[in-house]
Structures are given as C-alpha cells and as structure tokens.
Symmetry: C2
Subunit: 216 residues, 2 copies
C-alpha cells in the first residue's frame, strides 16, 4: 500500500513539474508576443492556457483519487493538499498570462511608447520563481522557499519603478495614456504572477513546518 | 459511517457559508472605506483578511481529514474537492479587498476626483454574486450557477464604463492621473472578485454535471 502510494505520488510530481514548465512557457510566450507585437503568438497564449487548465483538473482528480483510495497518513496528507494548492496558483498564473495576451491584442500594431526592458526582466524573474518554488516543494527545502520571497521583493521593486515611470510619461504626454495604462496592467499581472510563486513558497514552508507564514 | 460523513459535511457547509459572509463583509468594508476615505476602516480590512485566511485553512484541514478518514464515494469526493476550490476563490477575493484598502490608504485624504457611483455598484453586484454562487453550491443548482455568470457580464460592463470614463478624465486633466490610475486598479480588483464568484459557479456546474465549462 505504502509503496503504491509513493509511486502514485511520484507520478503526480512528474505532472506537477510539467505544469510548472507549461506555466513558465506561457509567461515567456505572452511577454515575447508583447515585445515583438506578435499577435499570432498572443492568440496562442489562449490555447496554452486551455492545456494548463486541463492538466490542473487531471492532477486534481488524481489527488482526490489518491486521498480516497490510499488513506494517506498525516504527512502525506499535507503533501497532497500542498499539491492541490500549488496547481491552483499555477493555474492562476496562466490566467494572468492570458490577461497579458489580451492587452497585447488591444495594443495591436500601434508602436510601443517605450522600449520594453523592465517588463521582460520581471517576466524572467517570475519564471525563475516558478521553477524555484517547485524545486523547493520537490526537495521540501525551506531555504529555497524563502528565496522565492526575496525574489518577489525584486519583482515588486521593478513594478514600482515601472509604475513611477509610466505615470510620469502619462503626465508629460496625454496621447499615450491608453497604452501606458495597458502596460501598467501588464506590470501588475506580472507582479501577481510573482505573488503566486510566493504563495507556493509559503505553502512549502507550511507543508514542512506546519507553520503558516507570510514572507512578504 | 455514511451518516457521520453527512454530519461532518454539514459542519463544513456551515463554515463555508460563514467564510462567504466574511468575504461579502470585507468587500463592503473596503469599498465603504474608500468612499468615506475612512483610513481606520481601510486598516481593519487587513485584519478581516487574516481571519478569512485562518478560516480557509481550518476548512481545508477538515476537508483533508474527512477525505482521509471517511473514504467518501465519487459524488462526495466531488463535493469536497469543490469546497476546496471554493475556499481558494473566497480567499483570493479577500486579497483583492486588501488591494482596495491599500489603494485607499494611498489616496489618503486627498479629495476624490469624482463621486463614486459605479465602483460601489460593482461592489454590491459582486457581493450578491458571492452569496448566489454559494447558494448554487448548497442547492447544487445549475441555473443559479449560470446566473452568476450573467451577473459577471454586468460587472464587466460597468468596469468597461469606468475604464473609459477615467481614461477620458486623465486625458483632460493630467493632475489627476495618479488617483485615476488608482481607481482603475480598484475597478480591476472588483472585476477580479466577480471573476472568482464566476469560478465558483463554474465549479458548481462541474460538481453537478462533471462537465467543465467556461461561462464567460
């Protein structure tokens, strides 16, 4: 029974890592679509999100089956409830990538009001946070989980800088207000993606220690 | 065993309704704090959110215990996984109310650039959606669940109107850009709150029919 459980858990972890990789990819594609004003790529993001949603349901169903059939013990229960929370966070990240794609389609082929530097940087940091938070889960590594929170501070700082810059640009030139607001929304979506990665880190700490923390 | 399960499920439902009521309250308090520029009330929102987070964990732990001890059957499994998803959505609504409070504190006592009519209207609609979506869950009522999605369209329409209005105001008068952006963020938070209620509706449909739907 126990080894069967371990095996099924291993299968779940493989799927979870796959979902994580898909989320990293959707973030990357959504930001590349924005930077290159590639509207076809932006539309692809919607399809990618559908796949992520499907995988979420698959993993969730397997978790439920595992719980019902194997009667796991306390520690295993916590692992499974952690997986169920992680997939919700990952799924929400996919939704934010769709928001980014939506804004990209709205901007269309209208020239960008500024070269995009900080937004891609936030995106890269967020992608790293996703893989780091899943790594923290796999290794049950509190230190790694806390690192994710520190990265989140860096993302917040970049967002603040973007916010200030765009606000100043709008004040100087009203003709760009619409696009500047749209870019602000994208900054906010990235900031929320990073928050979801931080949630995963906090969850890992809860799984390992039983202590609920808010690390930012 | 079965009647014990039923009893524990009933207890869970009571807690779930309580969580729903707390979420309705936090939305209301956050918007009243904004409208009255009541910074003390805005600070209270943070504490209210802590209580919501605590209740979420309590309900989640009870769900996990129930799953592990009672080995529920297929249909009951689906009810419990639905509860676990609903509490995540409710918890996220609390986070959005905190965002609203944060913006309210940032606006501080600086005069509002416009009388707030649409934002409180969105808030009221969202609160109704929360109670309607939980009602749909309790009654396993697909029709009610679909109604929530229709309400969501109304919320989206109001958000679009707010967006257009604020954008026009900013273009006319740059001195208000900062506050207008802040109000836009609040509109977006309310829109997301309504989305979470819609998620709950979709989940109820999935629970009842086994079909995954996206109703907007």
């Amino acid at each position: 029974m126990r080894s069967q459980f371990k095996n099924q858990l291993k299968n779940l972890n493989v799927k979870l890592l796959k979902m994580g990789a898909m989320v990293q990819e959707i973030i990357e594609v959504s930001i590349k679509a924005l930077a290159n004003q590639d509207l076809e790529a932006a539309k692809k993001v919607y399809l990618m999100d559908d796949k992520i949603d499907e995988l979420e349901l698959t993993i969730e169903n397997e978790c439920m089956r595992l719980l019902a059939l194997q009667q796991p013990m306390a520690r295993d229960l916590r692992v499974i409830s952690t997986i169920m929370k992680i997939i919700t966070d990952l799924e929400r990240m996919g939704d934010h990538a769709v928001n980014i794609a939506k804004v990209t389609l709205e901007i269309g082929s209208e020239p960008l009001i500024k070269p995009l530097i900080d937004i891609p940087k936030m995106a890269r940091l967020s992608e790293d946070m996703v893989s780091k938070s899943l790594d923290a889960f796999m290794k049950a590594d509190i230190q790694l989980a806390e690192d994710v929170a520190h990265d989140d501070e860096a993302v917040d700082d970049i967002y603040e800088a973007i916010y200030t810059e765009l606000l100043e640009m709008m004040i100087e030139d009203q003709s760009i207000i619409k696009q500047a607001t749209n870019l602000l929304f994208i900054g906010r979506d990235l900031e929320r993606i990073a928050d979801h990665a931080t949630n995963i880190g906090e969850r890992v700490i809860y799984m390992v220690t039983g202590e609920r923390v808010e690390i930012n």
